[in-house]
């Protein structure tokens, strides 16, 4: 009797140890978008669906129970920031990295920098850092964002990709005898031709989240001399997103970025030209339930790489499409144009647009850091990245290899053209100048200007007032020491 009680105790003890260890082997992951769609397969987002499957694969191999928590994309950064501050984030967060929402809260994340020089057990290189494609230091800097420290690691699309391109209806272009435009003047002429044929040239959604992304390349192109002045004054290295919020506040306070600046006004005028000649007339309030491009209402649209899979796989798609990068603003379209190329969204390395992961500091406190690191190492090992790449609508192409060598189908080449041509470089990348206000004052006032309610000069005056107010508050909110700022440049 006593023996059986003893055995029973041992069994219970073992079971409880088993339960406890099983509990330790669980990981919660905050995941980008709706996990149910990824689980069902064939979702609109091939990149995240692939990441989701890789995590499941890792969980199975390691015998870890993973719980995914869907994060609806609308308001995701605000939500994650709140959760980060309140210490309620899951063990791992899967998201596109963004620096603005992390400002001042980096101490709440696990700094991964030290791990980069250590080996990745799943990798085939000496260090984890080497696993990332190409020049890992630049790739990681783009991804990690602040102060050279690594807070995010991710899968990367190893090719020089611009995130936003113009998709065009090749059937309409062929019918109208149109070529892919390489300058803004050519684009505007293309729009005129299309309009003349009764076709709405280009779809734009002023209410959508990507409107700012769309206008920023134009603004960046026109503001190039202002960017140079800012970077020179601060002695900052030219790089993607090199112009920080603090630099912008300095620029506003010192009159470098102002509503009366000729480049600012010219930028608005150029954008108005584009809006008037190219965009759908209801661009300020389009019917967002309809994809104007897919349903043949417009000949062009501006969108990201994620639409490749959606358009390519859509049953509604009845035409042949291609892509081209937003063309250069030439001197014919604007006498103040100074750049011989167009600025582009996207980091110079693939990592910037890949799916990324961060670990909140609470994970360490919960004793799950090792498990979380293991997952991240698994997800970013070169071999896993290759596996991830194989499921993307956009093939992973090394930068020194011509796209035509990898993609031989002319139709597919046309679809991918805008993403790879011209080849991305530091010169082309968006450097962060533009409207500094989170509410998009420039875009809001531009809408008023476009509707004819105010003149260009009035737009400039109103932008100036709003920017000054923004700079004043940004200084107070961030507690910047303005006495340490560079001196105002000589006018």
């Amino acid at each position: 009797m006593r023996k059986s009680v003893l055995w029973l105790c041992i069994v219970v003890l073992l079971l409880s140890v088993g339960v406890v260890s099983a509990q330790e082997q669980t990981l919660t992951i905050s995941f980008w978008g709706n996990v149910d769609e990824y689980e069902a397969g064939g979702s609109n987002n091939a990149a995240w669906e692939a990441s989701y499957n890789l995590i499941k694969q890792w969980a199975e191999e390691k015998g870890v129970a993973v719980e995914f928590i869907s994060q609806p994309i609308d308001g995701i950064y605000d939500r994650i920031r709140t959760q980060l501050i309140s210490g309620t984030l899951p063990d791992v967060v899967a998201m596109y990295p963004a620096n603005s929402f992390l400002n001042g809260n980096l101490d709440l994340l696990v700094d991964l920098t030290a791990y980069m020089s250590q080996p990745n057990p799943y990798g085939s290189f000496e260090t984890w850092g080497d696993e990332f494609w190409y020049d890992q230091s630049v790739g990681l800097r783009d991804t990690a964002i602040p102060a050279g420290q690594v807070y995010f690691v991710g899968n990367s699309l190893p090719s020089n990709i611009g995130q936003l391109v113009i998709y065009y209806n090749n059937d309409i272009f062929t019918e109208q005898g149109l070529q892919v435009p390489t300058t803004l003047t050519e684009l505007l002429t293309t729009c005129d031709t299309l309009k003349g044929a009764g076709i709405t040239p280009m779809f734009n959604d002023g209410t959508g989240p990507f409107f700012g992304w769309y206008t920023l390349p134009i603004v960046e192109g026109m503001y190039a001399p202002i960017t140079e002045k800012i970077l020179a004054a601060w002695g900052a290295e030219d790089a993607p997103f090199a112009v920080t919020t603090e630099m912008l506040a300095w620029a506003v306070q010192n009159g470098v970025l102002s509503g009366s600046n000729e480049y600012v006004l010219e930028g608005a005028r150029v954008m108005n030209e584009l809006a008037t000649r190219c965009w759908n007339s209801d661009w300020q309030a389009p019917d967002t339930s309809v994809d104007y491009f897919l349903t043949n209402r417009t000949a062009m649209t501006i969108n990201g790489f994620w639409m490749l899979g959606l358009y390519g796989g859509s049953e509604e798609m009845t035409f042949d499409f291609g892509t081209f990068a937003f063309p250069v603003i030439d001197t014919e379209s604007s006498p103040l144009a100074t750049l011989p190329f167009a600025r582009r969204w996207g980091g110079v390395e693939g990592g910037e647009i890949g799916n990324s992961y961060m670990i909140p500091a609470t994970t360490e406190a919960n004793g799950k850091l090792d498990l979380a690191i293991d997952l991240l190492q698994y997800l970013t090992a070169r071999s896993t990245n290759d596996q991830w790449c194989a499921t993307q609508p956009m093939p992973c192409i090394p930068p020194d290899q011509p796209v035509s060598e990898v993609v031989t189908d002319p139709a597919q080449q046309r679809e991918l053209f805008g993403f790879y041509n011209p080849t991305m470089s530091n010169d082309l990348a968006i450097r962060g100048i533009g409207d500094p206000t989170p509410d998009g004052v420039l875009n809001r006032l531009f809408m008023t200007y476009n509707s004819g309610s105010i003149t260009l000069e009035e737009l400039g005056q109103q932008v100036q007032t709003e920017w000054e107010r923004w700079a004043e508050r940004a200084i107070i909110d961030n507690g910047w020491d303005t006495s340490a700022w560079p001196a105002a440049p000589a006018s």
């Binding site: 308001g75 605000d78 920031r81 709140t82 501050i85 929402f101 001042g104 809260n105 002023g206 209410t207 759908n280 007339s281 209801d282 661009w283 300020q284 309030a285 389009p286 019917d287 967002t288 339930s289 989170p438 509410d439 809001r444 006032l445 809408m447 008023t448 509707s451 309610s453 109103q462 007032t465 709003e466 107010r469 004043e472 508050r473 107070i476 909110d477 507690g479």
Partner: protein, 314 residues
């Protein structure tokens, strides 16, 4: 001298005794109704935690530069910043126009409630009531989607206008001149079921004796409505006007979902400025200051409103 002292001592003793008795009777009363107090306490605690505490936090936050994690005292800066906003006047004008419109549009549910009330057949009255209440079942999102489509370039309103021979190419929500008017027009014919039911309840509660007496005195038609029935639902009107005032000043949902305050700032309202400051800028202190100002405005408007209605009653 000793007498005075004695009197004072007696009076103090009497006061203390009286206070003691009061305290005892209060405690006794609480003890006597302990079950009621016990049942009320979760609600009160919940209100303190989830309503009063956040409101007080917002008041505190309005004097700070606060990003949700760190707060630094900035005095009245947030208030000054809001009051110096060049867009402030426009957003208050927008609110004022919405306010006037919303108060005026209360006449529609009043009319419908009255017509239902006057229906002689109780079965018909029942079914009309059901008809008015039925749309509540539809989720609010459907309402937004429907109206967005109606206002779009190829949407319902332009289709109707084109069928009438007007070549309408108006982008109702995308034009600074028509966007606010379009938001007002949303929900046409502005029959809110709850408002109809409140008015209807008021009409039904009118004593039949009063109506019979009015009929004997020759009151009928408009005179019956304006002199007898309408004054009898004044209580309902008062409540609904106050609720409309509060609701309109607080509301930014329509502007957010329909236009995000645009085009430009054409449909911007203070509540949306608060929402944007909170969600887009993580400027919790500034958003709190806007919230406090909105609270004061609503309070003042409600008091003025009540005073006006009370004086009109007297």
């Amino acid at each position: 001298m000793t007498e005075i002292r004695a009197t004072r001592a007696e009076s103090t003793l009497a006061k203390t005794n009286a206070e003691g008795v009061r305290r005892k009777s209060l405690l006794r009363s609480i003890w006597k109704n302990r079950v009621l107090y016990l049942l009320l306490s979760p609600t009160i605690i919940g209100m303190i935690v989830f309503q009063y505490y956040p409101a007080l936090t917002a008041f505190w936050g309005s004097f700070h530069s606060w990003d949700g994690r760190r707060a630094r005292f900035v005095g009245l800066f947030n208030y000054e910043f809001f009051l110096e906003d060049p867009r402030l006047l426009q957003s208050w004008v927008n609110i004022l126009l919405l306010l006037i419109f919303n108060v005026l549009s209360l006449s529609m549910p009043l009319l419908i409630a009255y017509l239902i009330y006057r229906l002689p057949n109780p079965t018909h009255r029942y079914w009309y009531r059901v008809l008015v209440v039925l749309p509540i079942i539809a989720p609010g999102f459907v309402f937004i989607v429907l109206w967005r489509w109606l206002f779009s370039l190829d949407g319902g309103i332009n289709i109707i206008l084109r069928s009438l021979g007007v070549d309408s190419q108006v982008v109702w929500l995308g034009n600074a001149n028509t966007a606010l008017g379009s938001i007002m027009f949303m929900g046409f014919p502005w029959i809110d079921a709850f408002t109809v039911l409140i008015f209807l309840a008021g009409f039904i509660a009118i004593p039949t004796e009063m109506l019979d007496a009015a009929a004997v005195d020759g009151a009928s038609g408009w005179s019956r409505f304006f002199r007898i029935e309408l004054p009898q639902v004044q209580g309902q009107i008062k409540v609904l006007v106050i609720l409309t005032f509060i609701g309109t000043v607080q509301d930014f949902g329509r502007a957010l979902f329909m236009t995000r305050g645009g085009p430009g700032y054409a449909t911007m309202v203070p509540g949306l400025r608060m929402y944007n400051a909170f969600t887009q800028e993580s400027a919790y202190g500034y958003a709190s200051a806007i919230g406090v100002i909105l609270f004061i405005v609503i309070l003042v408007l409600t008091l003025i409103n009540q005073r006006l209605i009370r004086s009109s009653e007297s």
